[in-house]
Amino acid sequence: MEKQKAIKTSSSSVERKRLGFRKLKEIFHRLKKSTLAMIGLAIIVLLVLTAIFADYIAPYDYSTNDLKNQYAMPSKEHILGTDEFGRDIFSRIVYGSRISLQVGFISVGIALTLGVIIGASSGFYGGKVDMILMRFIDILQSLPDILMAIAIMAALGPGLSNLMIAVGLASIPGYAKIIRSSVLSIKDNEFVEAARANGSSDFRIIVKHIIPNCLAPIIVQATLGVAYAIINAAGLSFIGLGLEPPTPEWGAMLSSGRGYIRDYPHMTMFPGLAIVIVIFALNVLGDGLRDALDPKLKQ
């Protein structure tokens, strides 16, 4: 009897996995219809590969000074030129992709985790919990996210982990509000009632039944969120509150090249272009995912 039950459970989980895989395939099929989204996806894949294989792709070390080659314009030896210390700009951009990706994904992870906890509790429990949590979110939202990040950086001081925490914490309100509204639209559905009747705890209902059903807006917001996180982190480094030299962060590179813009514009041109390309890719991928995950919205 128990053996039969075990077989039944395992076959239902296999079935569920198969269904999930089929759904993913369907979403990817719809995503493929958007050329721009596919270009965006290709750029992001390329960026991830660049970050992983930076040691093999970058022709020079990102921090080695070469004072004989200061301010070199783009050439065969240095395809994007060199900076004020003779460091190869292409190599620094390649290594900088690691930082941008790290900041983008980890800060979104922080924002998403806390946003899900706040938004889901607020929407699920309602009443006083909702009132208190949403007033807290309103207070956070009364400052533009970059300014909240600046305030947090002022408290924590410069550094990569602090930058990720600051950018992540500053973007919690957006996630919390989206998740709350999704939970509100789902929590009265019959499958939630059924789970409650089965004796599932609130935590289990939220984690197993509600959150998987509001994944679409979360995924879209997270994709666009990575773009905002990269821009905000670069902005903070640009004004001197994020990462400090010689870290090859794109915003910090722009900031140090700023003083030489009249004579050596390549020092600011290429790191800026790298930021724009990545933000473009994440934006079009986010738009494509929105249409692919919610075809009704597109119609």
Partner: protein, 309 residues
């Protein structure tokens, strides 16, 4: 309606108190000792202790916050700068003008360009104009203000020599910063106007207006735009917040002596009261803009007005 406005103004108070508490608590965590910053690292410990006592830094956190709040609400005083020893409020009022002008000019650029372009794009959907505009708008959204600012300096100041690259005293000095800061908002407002107009243009009342023989201009500008304005107004409100954030970068790039630059400089110098004052200034400005947008809703949509009358 006045009841609604009064309610909204009263709601600002807890928000401002909340922001001040969060920022006050955050700055409490900031590394470094303000007294050592003022007197120097080699200062006499007795002097350090005396100044700490004088500045009230030996009191518990909540006592200090309570004192700050009392001074802010009753005396409209945000304390003195650790560095210049001048009142924070005076310094902020002195620096507020360029920031407010910059934000106002940028949002004006965004509205003047964004709404008409969005309307034309919607009316001529899928035309060459629409496609080109949407590509430019997408690029505009992807371009960070700090890079666009540098590109504008490179083109208009360095290469063409047409406009100055720093300062904020004459109109010519205001052009590049306003364009750099407003560009992203132009893109966002254009996209929002287009999609909002597209939704309205297909609705029945527009078809009815056309069937009654109304001129196309009247149909678009009066019947369609009037009904598409609510999401556009919301976007303008949120964009203003983004502009206040972006103003920090713009002021740094173009060396504008505004509140944003004052904030960045104060953070670097660990001037806690000044940082707190600057952040509160932005929070209050943002809240006032949102209040104005909410009031404007009632003029655009009579249903909202009737709810509160």
């Amino acid at each position: 309606m006045s009841k609604y406005i009064l309610k909204r103004i009263l709601l600002l108070i807890p928000v401002i108190i909340g922001v001040s508490f969060i920022v006050f608590a955050l700055l409490e965590l900031s590394p470094g000792d303000p007294v050592r910053n003022i007197l120097g690292t080699n200062a006499d410990p007795k002097e350090v202790e005396a100044l700490r006592e004088e500045m009230g830094l030996n009191d518990p956190f909540l006592v200090r916050y309570g004192r700050f709040l009392k001074n802010m609400i009753i005396n409209r005083d945000l304390g003195d700068s650790y560095l210049t020893r001048t009142p924070v409020v005076d310094e902020i009022f002195m620096r507020a003008k360029p920031t407010v002008i910059l934000a106002a000019l940028s949002i004006s650029v965004a509205i003047i360009l964004g709404i008409p372009i969005g309307i034309i794009s919607a009316v001529k959907q899928y035309s060459i104009f629409d496609n080109v505009t949407m590509v430019i708008a997408l690029l505009g959204i992807c371009m960070p203000v700090f890079w666009l600012g540098l590109l504008l300096i490179l083109l208009f100041s360095v290469k063409l020599g047409l406009l100055p690259s720093s300062g904020f005293n004459s109109f010519s000095q205001m052009i590049l910063p306003s364009l750099a800061l407003g560009a992203q908002s132009v893109s966002v407002i254009t996209r929002m106007t287009r999609s909002s107009m597209l939704e309205v243009i297909r609705s029945d009342h527009i078809r009815t207006a056309r069937a009654k023989g109304q001129k196309e201009n009247v149909v678009i500008l009066s019947h369609a735009l009037g009904n598409a304005l609510i999401p556009i107004l919301t976007t303008i409100g949120t964009q203003f917040g983004q502009l206040l954030g972006g103003a920090v970068m713009t002021e740094v790039i173009f060396s504008i002596p505004g509140v944003g630059r004052l904030m960045v400089d104060s953070i670097k110098m660990r001037d806690v009261p000044m940082v707190l004052g600057c952040i509160l200034f932005v929070a209050v400005s943002f809240a006032i803009v949102n209040l104005v947008v909410d009031i404007l809703y009632s003029f655009v949509d009579p249903r909202i007005k009737s709810k509160f009358s």
